[in-house]
Symmetry: C2
Subunit: 104 residues, 2 copies
Amino acid sequence: MIRWDERSRPGPVAGVTAADVQGLQLSAARYVLEPDAVVPEHAHENEEFGQVLNGTLELTTAGTVEQLAAGDAFLIAGGIPHAARAGTGGCELLECYAPPRAPR
Amino acid sequence: MIRWDERSRPGPVAGVTAADVQGLQLSAARYVLEPDAVVPEHAHENEEFGQVLNGTLELTTAGTVEQLAAGDAFLIAGGIPHAARAGTGGCELLECYAPPRAPR
């Protein structure tokens, strides 16, 4: 069983806590974003699935902006630039990557 | 954006509603299990990540039984037999598969 809180560590940018698990075909990560935390635009070859677990997230994918709330999910093809900003209440986010994405 | 309720359909076994999205490298699915719904033991080559979103789940992986609650996650290697039973309050479950697993 994976308990995310046992794996939590500072994330790749300020205001983000990360936890991950690495498989052979995919990896998964849980991110906790503080209110208004920003993940700058980036891109990677790994396909990315995500779901908002709690709070809200503004997701920008290839220039298109969407407002996501708890229960909303998304799928980003490999190589597509994307960025995110947590809402004023912060955001808990679950993501899966294939092929596996190394922790950062 | 993916809204699971718009994709929901009867699942592979009684008492389970499924929704899925298919990528090129992974697929994701949201399952809603009625109280005490049983997913019989099965196995597949796809690696499987899962997280309980709401409720509880008894997960049996290669004969080992674990009790999962909301927020708990798991990773099952390809080819490993596994089965599940929802708790008395039912279970909402999010899963990712790599390579993508066709809807069933």
